[in-house]
């Protein structure tokens, strides 16, 4: 690996020869930054399966959303217009508009569904980004965000059919949850005003072999084990592959061809209305 240090020494040498200021830009330097070092794409594609039924429980969804907020210092901006959501709840009819019809039961129609970034196989948000601040990581299929690069143009928000992206209209720090010592709950960097953010499948956790925070939180709720399943969809032995092979699952707006990697188990009918009211 060509380390920065070696480059530093090499450049010093170049400069000493005196042609230092002729090539004003070192193309290798920029090229290196733009192109991934590991050119062979990995076959990994992280995916998630959400059990629609288990996630109708308020405490399960709340556990997921809360874990996410704490993990990533996601701010709770009071103005709903400016809310920042990585994982949140939609009504079934909005989450799956092509699954509802005139005779869909009201209970189904209004049932709460946990939604997040789909980490699409063919992500439209990536295509529109002018600075490549968002890109699909070839090593594991996560649709990543590089906050350092985001210029806040919000093209990606317009391109995403799932509304999975939020824009920081203001400095989020005052809205980040703090502990008793007035420190944020996580070391995860907060964001700055003027950038777009979204779910990253907890790439920093996944890197160290841990499941995403929401998955961990949901499975920790008693009776909700298996509400969220996370795994490599290209590995036939993984839990997600196994479930996808054996049970009926659906995806959000498949007809758009984005290839979502968040799946929903639809094994059972909706629960009685009482449950629904709590949604």
């Amino acid at each position: 690996m060509d380390t920065s240090r070696r480059r530093f020494l090499r450049e010093l040498g170049t400069a000493a020869v005196g042609v230092g200021c002729l090539p004003l830009l070192d193309p290798a330097r920029w090229l290196q930054e733009a192109a991934p070092v590991d050119a062979t794409p990995s076959t990994t594609q992280w995916a998630m399966i959400i059990d629609l039924d288990k996630c109708r429980r308020n405490d399960v969804r709340e556990a997921c959303m809360s874990a996410c907020r704490r993990e990533h210092n996601v701010p709770r901006v009071p103005d709903p217009e400016e809310a920042i959501d990585w994982i949140w709840t939609e009504e079934y009819q909005h989450a799956f508009p092509d699954q509802v019809h005139a005779r869909t039961a009201v209970a189904w129609r209004e049932a709460p569904v946990l939604v997040l970034c789909n980490h699409c196989t063919n992500p439209p948000c990536v295509k529109v980004c002018p600075t490549k601040a968002t890109w699909k990581r070839e090593t594991d299929g996560i649709v990543m965000m590089d906050m350092h690069r985001c210029i806040g143009c919000r093209y990606c928000m317009a391109a995403c059919p799932y509304g999975a992206r939020s824009f920081n209209w203001r400095d989020p720090r005052p809205f980040v949850e703090r502990d008793a010592g007035d420190k944020p709950l996580s070391e995860y960097p907060t964001r700055a005003a003027g950038v777009v953010e979204k779910c990253t499948f907890c790439s920093e956790r996944v890197r160290t072999g841990r499941p995403p925070a929401c998955v961990e939180a949901a499975n920790a709720v008693s009776g909700a084990e298996g509400a969220l399943t996370f795994g490599d969809v290209t590995d036939p032995e993984s839990d997600v592959s196994r479930i996808l092979q054996s049970e009926p699952t659906i995806c959000r707006r498949v007809s758009l061809g984005t290839g979502p990697n968040v799946y929903y188990r639809v094994s059972r009918a909706p629960a009685p209305a009482t449950d629904r009211e709590g949604a």
Partner: protein, 329 residues
């Protein structure tokens, strides 16, 4: 040929600065020569401007580029033909800040081979104004290395200049603009035949000098980064008259600094004097008021004239013959 001489000179100077420092002469290139250069700049510039100031302006000769102030119902063009001091200040401001005269270049353009319109020929104006403004802003930015604490306006300028936050460290707009505009000015000096024909070594040299200064500065910031805090310690040592030469400064920086020293020292002996000179040009900085108030020529001296008496003496008979009145019969 003249261009090659200039390129050779600048390259040699850069190498002298860099290799000299690499060879352990940091005190010479980091302290002695900068002091000497600043001294030459200040004394040379002051001497030249004082020489100009001591040369009188015997006549009021503004080049008028618009309607004069005459009859009350005709609107004067004050900024093109200033009738008073505030208008002169306006005219000079336009000239110095906006390069008004270069903007005057117009070309006729024939549309459909029939209709005649005018287009402004912007290239030279744009190249010149971008180069000069970028240089001024870059100079202000450099104050961060010369002042401690750094005044707010310097940080403000840096922030606006690096607004797009491209690159790390941020690439300043003016760095790119400065080098681009210089490159254009060089290009036109080479590409336009009449300009190439009139160009002297003294025209190429400052161009290449500025290009090399800008280029090495860019390189130092973005490619071979040097320890900027040490550079600042060096510079502050100079301004505090307590010079120190920190160890960890790249020789490249001394090349950069030496070229700046050369520029400062060369300034008062070169065409770069147009900087103070533009303020003093009598065709621009005088109001067109010779008929309104008398301009005095300080060295005016009496001249031999042919007086009326001499005239009449020679022609008296003819005047009387033609029935013209005469003073003496």
């Amino acid at each position: 040929m003249t261009m090659l001489i200039a390129v050779g000179l600048v390259t040699a100077l850069f190498l002298v600065g860099m290799l000299g420092a690499a060879a352990g002469l940091q005190w010479v290139f980091g302290v002695a020569l900068p002091y000497l250069a600043v001294g030459m700049f200040v004394i040379g510039l002051a001497a030249r401007v004082l020489r100009w100031a001591n040369v009188p302006v015997p006549f009021r000769i503004p080049t008028t580029c618009g309607q004069q102030r005459s009859l009350a119902w005709i609107r004067p063009q004050r900024l093109e033909n200033p009738p008073d001091t505030p208008s002169v200040i306006g005219r000079m401001a336009l000239e110095i800040l906006g390069f008004r005269s270069l903007l005057r270049n117009t070309k006729t353009v024939m549309i459909d081979g029939r209709r005649l319109t005018y287009a402004t020929d912007l290239a030279l104006w744009a190249g010149a104004i971008v180069m000069h403004w970028a240089m001024l802003i870059a100079l202000i930015r450099h104050l961060r290395l010369m002042t401690n604490p750094v005044p707010g306006f310097v940080t403000l300028v840096e922030r606006f200049d690096g607004f797009f936050e491209v690159g790390m460290p941020v690439i300043y707009l003016t760095s790119v603009a400065f080098l681009g505009a210089l490159a254009y000015l060089l290009y036109r000096r080479l590409a336009i035949p009449e300009v190439r024909y009139i160009s002297l070594v003294g025209d190429y040299f400052p161009l290449f000098l500025l290009l090399a200064i800008g280029g090495s500065g860019f390189w130092l910031r973005h490619v071979t980064t040097t320890d900027i805090a040490s550079v600042k310690a060096l510079v502050l040592g100079l301004t505090h008259f307590a010079p120190t030469v920190p160890a960890s400064i790249s020789p490249l920086f001394f090349g950069h600094l030496f070229l700046v020293s050369v520029l400062l020292a060369y300034f008062p002996f070169s065409k770069l004097l147009h900087m103070p000179g533009v303020f003093l040009s009598p065709t621009r900085n005088l109001a067109n008021t010779t008929r309104i108030s008398r301009h005095v020529n300080p060295w005016d001296y009496p001249v031999k004239v042919h007086t009326y008496a001499e005239y009449e003496d020679e022609l008296r008979d003819k005047m009387i013959g033609a029935g013209l009145p005469v003073e003496k019969d």
